[in-house]
């Protein structure tokens, strides 16, 4: 009996010790800034332990992976940095499979002040990083490096400037967003890109009558393509609508421009889109357009490479695609929030390495790679597009040309609104489409969501 108890006690102690040991192992992992990636790399044996010549690791999180339009460019830039700074710095990448997964994960990390050294601060991540004290004011570094500043540009810097003059993020791209249309379908339906919203709705009716589905909408995820149309409808509704779509974090959505836009979108969701649009993901909408099933999609120029990619689009689709400004000559023109540097409180080597990586990521070289491989517009005109590039990318060239004649320019909802607003639109569109709520009620819900955002 006594022997049994001793054995049982030893087993209990062993269990406790093993749990403690597990905890220690976890703790040692957590000393790195990127647990998963660090473990992966260590497993591969890329970073030998205990050597003094180890490169400084810079943690970086990205959603530009897999089938993302910028995945190839992202990989090339990261590899180029690792090669250039081999032995000195090494970027350890944490890959997140989608924008939503990225934003959610980063918000979790922000709550425990464990954001990676460099990351894109979209959808409120930058604000959380500023509030939790991790984000670094980049402005002094920009001012100290004229060569870097030349390719970032005053406009991009000012776009991200806080009221107190601090700059906590460097934009990763300039965006001009109109919509793409299928020229064959337009021609067969006898329509041209609409100049007014009445003409736009009339075009939809004509396209439908000709047997085509007019719009590639989607309300799942962040309701991206649908919200672009909504932004355009609001942003081109006179001076008031335009001012609203250029306002950061509006608190009240109950105005005539928003309600008018929602009224139009309601008709579009009910009459002029695919049966799966309500609740569909971005991939569904893009696929519908690229497979020649739908006449129009609102999206940015980064989609252009897909039109000639036969793994995504039907053969010869690139020749069928035209690009247009929104009715009333509207155009979404903005800078992205871009990269934030979260190295406050970290070692001097890590801070220097992360800053070096940020500079590299927004350098002339990186912007050129993203332009060539992903159709991402550079921040300034200092990065010139070659004649060959323009010839090979006629849609992008046309959009840039059209942008000069835009009467209304404005931002999209993702940039101006709290992330709770974007989330709210995604869950309210189905109710709008199925006549469960009115546009006025929809606007009330958005206002309430803005009130709730902190």
């Amino acid at each position: 009996m006594k022997k049994t108890k001793v054995i049982a006690l030893l087993l209990a102690l062993t269990m406790t010790m093993s749990l403690v040991a597990c905890k220690n192992k976890d703790a040692s992992k957590e000393t790195g800034t990127n647990t998963e990636a660090s473990v992966d790399e260590t497993d591969k044996g890329d970073t030998p332990e205990g050597t003094s010549s180890e490169p400084v690791e810079i943690s970086y999180a990205t959603f530009m992976v897999g089938s993302h339009a910028s995945a190839a460019a992202e990989e090339e830039v990261i590899n180029a940095f690792n090669k250039k700074f081999e032995g000195k710095y090494k970027v350890v990448v944490e890959e997140l499979p989608s924008d939503n997964a990225f934003v959610d994960k980063m918000k979790i990390l922000a709550s425990s002040q464990t954001l990676p050294d460099v990351l894109i601060g979209k959808n409120g991540i930058r604000e959380l990083a500023i509030e939790n004290g991790q984000a670094v004011n980049i402005k002094p570094f920009l001012e100290a490096d004229p060569e870097w500043m030349k390719f970032v540009g005053e406009d991009a810097m000012n776009y991200n400037m806080e009221d107190d003059g601090s700059v906590y993020s460097i934009s990763n791209q300039r965006q001009i967003i109109g919509y793409f249309y299928n020229k064959d379908m337009f021609s067969k339906a006898g329509v041209t890109p609409a100049k007014t919203w009445d003409e736009f709705m009339s075009n939809n009716a004509k396209l439908k009558k000709a047997g085509f589905t007019p719009l590639a909408l989607m309300t799942g995820e962040n309701a991206w393509t649908t919200n672009l149309w909504l932004a355009a409808m609001i942003g081109t509704d006179g001076a008031d609508g335009n001012a609203f779509m250029n306002t950061s974090y509006p608190a009240n959505y109950n105005n005539s421009s928003v309600i008018k836009g929602l009224e139009m979108l309601k008709t579009c969701l009910k009459e002029y889109t695919t049966p799966d649009a309500v609740g569909a993901l971005y991939a569904n909408a893009a696929n519908n357009f690229e497979q020649g099933n739908v006449a129009m999609i609102a999206n940015g120029p980064w989609m252009c490479p897909d039109f000639t990619d036969e793994t995504k689009s039907i053969p010869g689709f690139g020749d069928q695609v035209g690009v247009a400004l929104y009715p009333e000559d509207g155009l979404i023109a903005q800078f992205e929030v871009g990269y934030i540097l979260c190295t406050n409180g970290k070692s001097a080597e890590e801070q220097a390495g992360a800053l070096e990586f940020l500079k590299f990521k927004t350098s002339e070289y990186a912007q050129s790679v993203f332009l060539e491989k992903a159709g991402v517009l550079p921040l300034t005109d200092n990065i010139e597009m070659s004649a060959e590039y323009k010839a090979a990318n006629p849609i992008l060239s046309e959009l840039i040309q059209l942008s000069g004649s835009a009467k209304y320019t404005f931002e999209n909802i993702d940039n101006t609104a709290f992330s709770s607003i974007v989330d709210e639109t995604a869950v309210r569109y189905p109710e709008l489409a199925y006549d469960e709520i009115t546009p006025e009620e929809f606007a009330d819900y958005l206002t309430k969501a803005a009130e709730m955002s902190k």
Binding site: K5, A8, L9, A12, M15, T16, L19, V103, D104, K107, I108, A110, S111, G124, L128, I130, E131, N132, G133, T219, G220, T274, P275, D276, V278, G279, S419, S420, D423, A426, V427, R428, P430, E431, A433, Y434, E436, I437, M452, S453, K454
Partner: protein
């Protein structure tokens, strides 16, 4: 006796310590911060019962999530357990198909929720989904129903992603049934009971504890259900498929309102405790043999 007590305490100590560090500590923090206006980067200040009052008096989405969670708990604790038990009784007859059916019935329990969510999105897709196609084939007419996004069908569609798949209940009940002595069946047979009567009046009462346990597991699983809702409807349309875990998640990550989210967390914990006690009482599980 005193000596034994020491041993009991000694053996329980590691478990108690682990529970204290991993669960008790965070629960105390959860409870404490539910009375604050905590959000990242802001000064925390006490707000008393403000979060709780807001949830019950002003927050319609929370009330919807509470109602949906309650309905799903009820359905899980009754219908889900009923299906699992019936299937277990049928499979216990050990017919030629029993083994295959048991394996097939358990498959949804071993597929990850993310994969299951994508599967249901495809099956119920309004454009090319299996269900709509099947209805069109049967009726010979055009049919398009957006199961997950039509406010009239969304709740039922989400419910159908877990309610019928009671493989775990079946396995548990079958395991308990295998421990019933053959003598019991023989005695019932001698008394002239039919197979159906034996199942209803003899076997089922003997299964009381395991059915109670299954009901606890099934009902409390609804207090953790998040992934499949996130994959399919994200709580919409509106808040028609919102449940408490999903709303808590959104309150934290969309609204950055940890104080309010933690008040929801406290209510979730309380609901779990009430649920556990109620089911144990209904099945008299606390009564000594």
């Amino acid at each position: 006796m005193t000596k034994n007590k020491k041993w009991v305490i000694l053996f329980l100590l590691p478990g108690i310590l682990l529970f204290s560090f991993i669960f008790l500590g965070p629960i105390i923090v959860l409870f404490g911060t539910s009375f604050t206006d905590w959000s990242i980067g802001k000064e925390i200040s006490l707000v008393g019962l403000k979060n709780y009052i807001y949830l019950f008096t002003e927050d319609k989405t929370f009330m919807d999530s509470l109602k949906n969670t309650a309905i799903w708990i009820l359905l899980q604790a009754t219908f889900h357990v009923f299906i699992g038990t019936v299937v277990a009784i049928i499979l216990a007859k050990k017919r030629w198909y029993s083994s295959a059916i048991r394996t097939i019935f358990f498959i949804p329990n071993v597929i990850s929720s993310a994969a299951l969510g994508m599967l249901f999105l495809c099956v119920m897709n309004p454009q090319y989904g299996f269900i709509n196609t099947l209805i069109m084939k049967i009726t010979g007419e055009g049919f398009s129903q957006n199961w997950f996004m039509d406010p009239k069908s969304a709740f039922s569609a989400v419910t159908m992603t877990w309610l019928p798949y009671a493989g775990l209940v079946t396995i548990l009940v079958m395991a308990e049934m295998s421990s019933v002595s053959e003598d019991v069946y023989e005695a019932a047979k001698i008394d002239g009971a039919s197979s159906f009567q034996t199942d209803i009046y003899v076997v089922l009462p003997l299964m009381k504890n395991i059915i109670g346990t299954s009901a606890v597991l099934a009902a409390t699983s609804m207090l953790q259900k998040l992934d499949i809702i996130m994959m399919t409807t994200n709580g919409g349309p509106g808040s028609r498929t919102m449940n408490m875990p999903m709303y808590l998640y959104k309150t934290v990550f969309t609204n950055n309102n940890y104080g309010l989210a933690n008040a929801q967390g406290v209510l979730l914990v309380l609901l779990g405790v009430i649920l556990l006690k109620s089911i144990r009482k209904i099945f008299s599980m606390d009564a000594k043999e």
